[in-house]
Symmetry: C2
Subunit: 252 residues, 2 copies
DNA sequence: CGTGCGATTGAACTATATCAAATTCGGTGG
DNA sequence: CCACCGAATTTGATATAGTTCAATCGCACG
């Protein structure tokens, strides 16, 4: 896929959370990028690293994670097409967590200096990027509430809701109800603070209740209203533009 | 206390995470503020609100929280003297969580427009504020790992470590080992995703093990190395300037 | 000197973890 | 195309961390 097509994904992401002018889009299209294809389970940034560039995700899925003292991995967030997961590295010295691919992914690297120049010369883009990191923070807040306050069933439902809406916001949902879901149950367990066994059983319960179907790394939402309710999911924390919020999927 | 003294707390906070010039400090000292004394348990901002001003905390303690579907409250973060807890409201429409005082608190309100002008005219201050919100995000990440990945004992220990270091960073630790801790056990439970009963028992265990003493809303760290170890605490996620990181408290 | 909130205790209950084994699946080499 | 391999999923059984409920205690404050 050409660089031009990839950059459109970044633009789509930014336009799902902020208005851009035609000129802003042109500026972004001219962004110097180093595009890389990465395998699954590849560390992009490790805890303690001092990166000098940011990464833009074009295809695949990546996550932030931390390893706690007892050796268990906690996933902190997932990122999808168009996201800028480590924009905050611009303002930090050492990274406090690791960024890793979940599935084989295509990313673009942009030097910090380039991003700094971009924000200096283009206030609207600066504002959109700023807002993007604040939305990341809002997602972390929601995750604190998710792992701290909900039972296993609800946690998993909430996670599926979030991924579905975020993918929908950047046009990655087909038929109004199917999206990629390249996570293993181990990943789901690490993201929700559950054991694999219990994550498995929670997923089974969601399927048994006919809320979702999961097959071949694909999620199909069968009953959006009940899935939302199960996950106690309220889309507002994603701070999406109204136009980017998916309509309630049609039931079958 | 005079407005001038209060603003020094903000400066102290910003200087714990970013360099400021003498001119930046002067600019901050001239900031138009509306200072308010608020009682404990007071809502400063509620989920869904669209604030037009930001809040700076001078004295007391406040927290972000969300109420989940089943009615339980999850605390998302605590804030201490000098913090700007809702700086991100500058870039958001509706708030996704509620900001509430824990103890009786003194805050200063600054209009969004004033902050926007400030960041426009003073790039260093803009950068410090930006960094401050990114550190908030880093704290949320750490909390996801805390509630998702640690046992009760470790969670509570981690929380105490964080508060101790953050208070120390802005000069709120006496004798190198004592700081305010105006939290009820209910607050600690809501912050760690535990029941009150279990939070109580975890605290008892920490005391039994002679890691801390808690009395009259005051925390005394008795054994910092072991407390850190119990909480699997690594200060780097707070992204403090080296000078703001407290030395290991003297053992008694 | 009561009143009420916060801390503490005990006991019963349950959600979730852990361990270990079996099964299915996707891909790879022959 | 088949056989095989490792990884991912699933299952069952047992163990435990944490919850819930209900009562008591302590103490600051009017």
């Amino acid at each position: 896929m050409s660089q031009e097509q990839h950059v459109e994904k970044l633009i789509r992401h930014l336009e799902s959370i902020h208005d851009l002018s035609a000129r802003d889009r042109e500026t972004l299209r001219a962004l110097p990028l180093k595009i890389s294809a990465l395998p699954a389970r590849h560390d992009i940034v490790r805890e303690g690293d001092r990166p000098t560039r940011c990464c833009i995700l074009f295809d695949g899925m990546i996550c932030w994670n931390k390893t706690t003292g007892e050796g268990s991995r906690q996933i902190l967030s997932f990122h999808v097409s168009g996201d800028l997961p480590d924009l905050h590295s611009l303002h930090f010295g050492a990274m406090d967590s690791s960024l890793q691919t979940i599935s084989p992914s295509t990313v673009g690297f942009v030097a910090h200096d380039v991003v700094r120049a971009l924000t200096k010369d283009h206030p609207t883009i600066a504002s959109a990027l700023w807002r993007s990191t604040l939305i990341d923070a809002a997602i972390f807040r929601e995750w604190v509430a998710n792992v701290g306050g909900r039972k296993a069933y609800g946690r998993v439902a909430h996670l599926l809701c979030e991924l579905f809406v975020r993918l929908a916001a950047v046009g990655r949902v087909r038929d109004g109800r199917r999206c990629e879901l390249p996570l293993t149950q181990n990943d789901i367990a690490d993201a929700t603070g559950l054991s694999v066994v219990h994550a498995n059983r929670s997923l089974q319960a969601l399927r048994r209740d006919n809320l979702v179907r999961i097959d071949k790394a694909e999620l199909e939402v069968l009953d959006w209203p009940r899935l939302k309710e199960a996950g106690d999911f309220d889309v507002s924390y994603l701070h999406l533009n109204a136009a980017a919020i998916p309509p309630t999927p049609v039931q079958i």
